[in-house]
Amino acid sequence: MSITPEHPAALDRRTVLRRAAAVGMLATPAIGLLSACATSSGGDKDNEKAAEGTKSEKNPLGVKDDAPIEVIIFNGGYGEKYATDVHEPLYKKAFPKAEIKHQSTQAVSTVLQPRFASGNPPEFVNNSGEKLMDFGALVADGQLQDLTELWDAPSVDDPAKKVRDTVVPGTVEAGSFNGKPYVLYYVSTVFGIWYSGKLFKDNGWAPAKTWDDFIKLLTAIKAKGITPYGYAGANAAYYQWNVILTQAAKIGGVEVLKNIDNLEDGAWKQDAVKQAATAWAEVGAKFSDKSFEGLKHTDVQLRQNQYKVALYPSGDWLEGEQKKDTPAGFDYQLMPVPSLTASDKLPATALRATAGEGYFVSAKSKNPKGGLEYMRQMLSTAGAKGFTEVVKAPTVVTSGSEGFAFPPGVASSQAALKAAGQDVFNLYFDGWYKELDTEARSATNELMFGRINADAFVERIQKRADAIKKDSSVAKFKR
């Protein structure tokens, strides 16, 4: 029930995906057993008859130009129009002789599980929604095509550029399992601290880049009688640990987060984490409101819309989520977490960003090359632009969002992402080790609402991380 808060859809889905992946790794033996009886017509046979054409400049992946391809789209929040109107015509344009079989569904696993079991999977799948198939289990069962070839292929728009260089940093990693890319996460998500452009303009405030400026800004806001900063403790404490860890990454570099994800000894006790926690505990003590610990994320977000809270940490789904409560002219704007010290390893523009909405190519389908090519077309400027125009969400393709008139919030997060350049990072521990997430949430509330200090904060989370590391029943992931 409600111990899982009503996350914003985007994050929720992604978390579910990763969690599902984590569980899936364990599922492998059971799947093996099941397939022993459930699959009659040998899904194990090698994919020898996979269609293959000759590689050329126009066809770097070597797609057989008349091989048919089947596309399965999850008909959810993004609909299926982006596929039928944008991506499929693009593929057809590149390979006019190929026949495209399009199918959309709201229950991906119901439709596809039997097809995988009988060894006749479709080439291209948008695996998403409530009934998505377990990515981890699919990976472990060898059902997913390794995407390395795609990421290393020349891009559609500029043959001198590899596909992996046309997307937001971290995209490949987000879809990787123990280092190998299997899933394409297509929709871009940027995290930061949000404010109302109108409120700031009316009061002559500017977003802060350094910590001193940040504290000055908070003080000025407080003097105005507005709560300067706040997050919802009742169900969204992870919005705040996200800020603290983003701060830590900026201080000590992305290695800090990598150590945490990999459960390295003493990862939480790294100096950067401690410094970040100390700084934010002070913000919590001086510039927030104690009652927020009892509020849900929608409550605090509503208060921000009412100009009662100035700064709120979240991802860029926020603007869409608050659409109906946002007053006209509110003008959502994103500010990256400010630098703490002058010697921070990452610049002030650095931020956490990741990708959502998963797509994969079936390794055991008849035309996996076609599936890869379909992805390459998706990742072209035209493919990404078309997607964005249809569903109004930015993709991971950097050039795809250029020139599109996003609503102000997404526009500002896209601008921030662009400004960040290569200084973009992500973290995974919460999806891999749910217990650690729970502990971090509790500890964050304790820290931000003044019941423990930074030392105790890192101490208790480290203790839990150590316990998980020792627990042999928990599958471990590395990045």
Binding site: M1, S2, I3, T4, V23, G24, L26, A27, T28, P29, A30, L33, A137, G233, A234, N235, A237, D289, K290, S291, E293, G294, L295, K434, E435, T438, R441, S442, A443, N445, E446, F449, R451, S472, S473
Partner: protein, 302 residues
Amino acid sequence: MRHGKYPFVIGFLFAPVALYVTFVIWPYAQAFQISMTNWRGLSAPQWVGFDNYRKLLDDGAFWKAVQHHGVLLLALPLITIAIALFFAFLLNVGGKSSGGQRQGVWGAKFYRVVFFFPQVLAVAIIAVLFQMVYRPNESGLINGVLMKFGLEPILFLVKPNLALWSILAVLVWQAVGFYVVLFSAGMASIPGEIYEAAEMDGASRVTLFFRVTLPLLWDTLQVAWVYLGIAAFDAFAIVAVLSVDGGGPDGATTVLAMEIYRNAFVYSKYGYASAMGVALFFLTLTFAALTLRLTKRESVEY
């Protein structure tokens, strides 16, 4: 027809017993078995013996939950029964007597219906309702009024030492109505002549209550105590929906069912969660047995 009796009886018993075994006994047995494994929901479970129970011993959250059950176990039945008895007494025999018959206070029939309202509401709705009541800012039912008068808001669910009592208050509020009705029924079956006789001897209302009503209601009280005790071992829905951060702040309101839910459905540690479930099973059983044994008295025949 005598020789046909057993097939007849067995024929009738078979279906219910089969259902009971399949849906009650079997899951219980399975919980015991799963609690001895490290099952995570998907791959075949591996036998780990008493490992999960050993882990329970130094699981802080588990002991916190047990401690909270201890508090609830004492406070919930005591407070609920006290309030329910008081109300039931007022509703049935608290008023003046007319024509030798003791009456409830004025408007008793109306109150009886009102008291029962919370019982009609789904638990989840009650929890959501109290989210509004306890809300820590000006839009909360209580704090809104307090803040109108310029007072500081009370952080009911946020203050670690207040949160459990706030939850307890909801549990009591929800339970009282039912026990008012239960005790009313019990009191209605106490013969009026006894009251009459006592009154003639000059007994006050207080004496009536302690010397007549209470002893004659003992059986009902005993049942109420066991029921409320078992309710105190549950409390899951209220805690899950109402408390901050799922049994928070920092586990200050967590209960065993909450921890079981978290371990099973959030962490996918079904084996460990089952071990907690088995622990809860024995705790509840012990409680029920103890209560029935300790409160055993000779019942008064009338």
